[in-house]
């Protein structure tokens, strides 16, 4: 598009009047209308000092703003996020370890409690059995005692009855002997006679 090389045309864009050239405002397409000025406007060196000057100023200002203010801020956020994620992971890890420790503790406690309960149940069973046995024994002993007492009382009754029978027999024998011989025998004679017969 550069039909005349602007570098070789020192009069085209004089340094002292750089703003004189862009005058034609009627352009429709990319035709020769654009090329009225001397080729690419980039090579009009009269505009260079201003651009270079402002570029350096703007660049330095932007550099200071970014390096002192925004880049540390953005970097800080990224680092804070990394630290937070790291911290959260560490927290989660410790929490998990704690949970595992607690669960194993709980399992141990449960086993202990179960053992204790089994022991208690066994003890209670044994105690109940022992008590029942002692009660049974006591009951039996009481029964035995009552049985013995009853037997004794029966024995006594029987002896009493036998004594009564002997007395009755002695009195009957006295009466019979008195009636037959007219002479009452002494009690000692009757007793000896009864003893002899009873033997």
């Amino acid at each position: 598009m550069a039909q005349t090389t602007p570098e070789l045309d020192p009069g085209a864009a004089p340094v002292d009047t750089p703003y004189g050239t862009p005058s034609q405002d009627t352009y429709a397409t990319t035709t020769e209308a654009d090329q009225g000025s001397s080729g690419l406007p980039q090579f009009e060196f009269g505009y260079w000092p201003g651009q270079i000057f402002w570029l350096l100023i703007v660049f330095v200002i932007l550099y200071v703003i970014l390096s002192k203010l925004f880049l540390p801020r953005v970097g800080g956020v990224i680092e804070a996020r990394a630290a937070k994620i790291e911290g959260d992971l560490a927290d989660a890890r410790t929490a998990r370890d704690e949970a595992e420790r607690q669960s194993s503790e709980a399992a141990a406690e449960l086993a202990q409690a179960r053992a204790r309960a089994q022991k208690t149940a066994a003890d209670a069973k044994a105690a109940a059995k022992a008590e029942a046995e002692t009660r049974n024994a006591a009951e039996e002993a009481k029964l035995h005692e009552r049985l013995a007492a009853a037997e004794a009382s029966i024995q006594a009754g029987r002896e009493q009855a036998m004594a009564n029978v002997r007395n009755l027999a002695a009195e009957t024998a006295e009466a019979i002997v008195e009636k037959l011989s007219g002479k009452a025998p002494t009690r000692a004679e009757v007793d000896s006679a009864l003893s002899r017969n009873a033997a």
């Binding site: 750089p18 406007p41 980039q42 505009y47 000092p49 350096l56 550099y63 970014l66 956020v77």
Partner: protein, 246 residues
């Protein structure tokens, strides 16, 4: 090319014979820098642990350049990160704003790209001397080169170093100007084809579709060129920061 024309916006008195008036180019540099500042002010305003959209974009750009300085320059890259980031953000913003119709593209001015290229190489030379003293010149003397070809290699190294700012400037300048010219030429086609009747309108529509596609491409180029500029600044800085490892 009307769209690249420099116009005076605010006349200032000449200093030492140089006209330092604010032109549309300077105005758009200021607007771009202000946009970058406002963007990061908004993006870092909340400083939330869970970022919003704006903050996410800000952090993405930050980490993009941070990873760049970290991976290319290494541990020392931290020091040069603000400089590279400012370059990247500033160029990116100027490129992007320039794609909006009626906005001016400061990076389509060779004065701007050449200054940026020279700025990078000046910083590289300054850092090189500050860190290595006269050892900076070892940059041009690669180790392990046979002595009889060394002079030739040194000459080549010096030339390649001197060409760096030129390539930096011309790459950015060429990409920006080229993109805008292509868009302009295609836009001209649409107008002139549209005036030719039914067939012309059909052709104009095809061209218009092309313009939309190229505009998308230009957004990518705008980002890519800013990124390339930042990458090369890192590479050149790395040369002088880690000079001993060459």
């Amino acid at each position: 090319m009307k769209q690249f024309e420099i116009k005076q916006v605010l006349e200032l008195p000449a200093v030492a014979g140089f006209d330092l008036s604010i032109t549309n180019s300077a105005l758009w540099m200021i607007i771009s820098a202000a946009t970058v500042t406002l963007f990061f002010a908004a993006a870092s305003a909340k400083a939330a642990v869970v970022p919003g959209r704006l903050q996410s974009v800000g952090e993405m750009l930050y980490e993009l350049i941070h990873n760049l300085t970290d991976s290319i320059i290494g541990h020392e890259g931290k020091k040069y990160f603000p400089f590279v980031f400012t370059l990247f953000a500033f160029i990116l913003c100027m490129n992007m704003l320039g794609l909006i119709p009626y906005f001016f593209t400061s990076t389509s001015q060779l004065a701007v790209t050449a200054t940026l290229g020279l700025l990078v190489i000046s910083v590289v030379i300054g850092v090189g001397f500050a860190r290595n003293g006269l050892g900076f010149f070892k940059l041009f003397v690669p180790s392990g080169v046979p002595i009889f070809v060394l002079p030739l290699v040194v000459v080549i190294e010096v030339i390649s170093f001197l060409v760096r700012p030129v390539t930096l400037a011309l790459r950015l300048f060429g990409n920006m100007v080229g993109g805008h010219v292509v868009l302009k030429v295609f836009g001209g086609f649409v107008v002139s084809l549209g005036a030719l009747g039914v067939m012309g309108v059909a052709g104009a529509l095809v061209t218009l579709t092309g313009i939309v596609a190229i505009t998308a491409l230009e957004f990518m180029v705008a980002f890519l060129q800013a990124f390339v500029f930042a990458v090369l600044a890192c590479v050149y800085l790395n040369d002088v920061v880690n000079l001993h490892s060459h």
